[in-house]
């Protein structure tokens, strides 16, 4: 633990306020948010819709600038999108339909001028194998199921070997069974390579399962409510409550208790 602390945080977000304009309003998405991500963290940003978690991830990706505060990766300020922070989106159209699975992964490597030719192909195949899609390497994305498409996107992100992988609700568009499987696969991949991932979700069980550190945001605008540790097992804590229940209570504490009608 102390060795990690000595190495310092990989990603540091300090007092970040994010605002964007719609046609009629200036919306404050997050207000003075701080957090630190260390190497090999599975850092989850969790919050209800409207807490600015996706906007926060976009800002880390370099797609928007904070109106206040600072963000730095390895000590360097984040100014624009770059291939040291690779995105995995929720939408299936993040894969380029005119490229095969292999070409999609290679596209990332060649476009960013990391690798070229045979070296790019080898690296691509190596990561496609990791997500168990070797058989489908020459298929076009439209022939794949939703889960397979997300696996390609993950392979593409991981093949870049970025400092941090940014995942924006990557499994939200999948059915429950596939989602469950993908979560397990992601953890297996992490066991394998210990990549650093910043994972945005609105699902409490997903956060508890995936994250080793969970940042809770409150909505309208997003402010940091808590940062919790998780070992993925949803254990009982000192106050006798399961982690997911604690998170649930914290997220919904501000809301008026909805009336519960018991069955029976």
């Amino acid at each position: 633990m102390s060795a990690v602390a000595a190495a310092g945080p990989l990603l540091e977000v300090k007092g970040v306020t994010l605002q964007y304009k719609t046609k009629e309003h200036l919306v404050t998405a997050t207000y003075r948010v701080d957090f630190q991500v260390f190497k090999s963290d599975r850092f989850v940003i969790l919050g209800p819709s409207g807490c600015g978690k996706s906007t926060l991830l976009k800002a880390v990706g370099g797609y928007m600038q904070p109106t206040e505060g600072s963000m730095s990766l390895n000590g360097a300020a984040i100014k624009k999108p770059g291939s040291d922070r690779v995105f995995v989106f929720q939408e299936f159209d993040q894969l380029l339909p005119w490229k095969t699975v292999k070409e999609n992964v290679m596209f990332a490597l060649t476009s960013s001028r990391r690798l070229a030719g045979k070296a790019a192909e080898d690296k691509a195949m190596q990561y496609i194998e990791k997500v168990k899609l070797t058989k489908f390497a020459d298929n076009f994305p439209h022939m794949l199921s939703g889960g397979m498409k997300q696996r390609v996107a993950i392979a593409r992100g991981m093949a870049m070997e970025p400092d941090v992988l940014l995942m924006d609700e990557p499994f939200a568009a999948l059915d429950a069974l596939t989602r469950r499987k993908m979560q397990e696969e992601l953890l297996q991949l992490w066991d394998d390579t210990h990549f650093t991932v910043l994972f945005v979700t609105h699902s409490i069980p997903e956060a508890v399962l995936i994250g080793n550190r969970i940042l809770l945001l409150s909505p309208h605008p997003g402010r940091v409510k808590a940062e919790l540790n998780s070992d993925g097992k949803d254990n009982l804590s000192a106050d006798g409550k399961q982690l997911s229940d604690r998170i649930h209570d914290m997220l919904f504490a501000d809301q008026i208790e909805e009336e519960v009608t018991p069955h029976g």
Binding site: Y63, S83, D93, Q94, W98
Partner: protein, 289 residues
């Protein structure tokens, strides 16, 4: 109590056997497969139309107004064999390709300008709004004054007929590229011309192709019409001129043969050239079903 409302049934679990079911996949019958071929279906329609033509013209029996299908075909065959139609067709296609290529090039330049700057965007929108509804042939008198009788005028009106539909479609294609795809491109460090070439153009390709098809059809129509108006320059002319000439000589079967060639070239480009481009690109990629 809920127990009284629900009907109680025992649970069961079955062993799934692997071989006891019937047909899961069965090939289609030959007839179904033949009829699934679009070329066969369209061929049948053509055959039907030709039959209607032949029967009607035989009943009418007036070769000056409406020659028989068989007469048209033989006139077509004769004119192919003596080389007249081929030469005229080639003349038309040559001019057409010149105008089409220049139109595509200009459309590309204009759209590139439009997506990179806001003023370029306004420029393109204003120009397309002004010129797209203007029939190219309406510019012909002006073109004749500017460029004289000859290919220059033809190419000018052709450019006008290709440029606007292609630019309009390409532009709307670029605008509708999804936000996710744009972010993916930028994530991997693409910017400027590489971003346009590697993300925008392929992502907008269905629209670009539609624009090219519309542009082709417009150009082809404009060309034939323009040739009908003046047609001949330096002793040779295109298909439009062939039609006009034969009308003057009351060779109506030849007129039909000329029209027939116009149609055949149109069908060929649509069903072979564009169709193959489509199959190798947007359909293969699943961007169009």
């Amino acid at each position: 109590m809920a127990d009284n409302v629900l009907v109680q049934r025992p649970e069961f679990v079955r062993e799934i056997e692997s071989s006891a079911y019937g047909v899961v996949e069965k090939p289609l019958t030959t007839w179904e497969r033949i009829f699934n071929n679009a070329a066969v279906r369209k061929g049948l329609i053509l055959l039907m139309l030709a039959t209607v033509w032949q029967v009607y013209s035989a009943l009418l029996n007036n070769p000056l107004l409406f020659p028989k299908f068989s007469d048209t075909i033989s006139a077509f065959y004769d004119n192919i064999m003596n080389g007249v139609l081929l030469a005229r067709g080639w003349f038309s296609i040559k001019v057409l390709l010149m105008g089409y290529a220049a139109g595509l090039f200009l459309a590309g330049t204009l759209t590139a300008f439009a997506i990179t700057t806001r003023i370029g965007n306004d420029f393109l929108e204003t120009l397309t709004a002004m010129f797209n509804p203007l029939p190219a042939i309406a510019l012909l008198p002006l073109a004749l004054i500017w460029f004289g009788l000859g290919n220059g005028s033809l190419v000018f009106v052709l450019i006008h007929s290709v440029l606007w539909p292609v630019a309009l479609n390409t532009h709307s294609g670029f605008m509708s590229v999804s936000q996710t795809m744009r972010m993916v491109g930028r994530n991997y460090g693409l910017a400027g011309p590489r971003y346009v070439a590697k993300i925008l153009i392929p992502a907008a390709f269905p629209n670009i192709l539609t624009g090219m098809k519309i542009g082709w059809a417009f150009a082809w129509r404009t060309l034939i019409a323009a040739e009908l108006v003046f047609g001949v320059s330096s002793g040779s002319g295109g298909l439009g001129w062939f039609i006009y000439e034969n009308k003057n000589q009351l060779e109506i079967a030849n007129v039909f043969a000329g029209l027939f060639s116009v149609i055949i070239i149109g069908l060929f480009v649509e069903n072979f050239i564009f169709r193959n481009i489509e199959l190798k690109t947007v359909r293969k990629w699943g961007m169009q079903s």
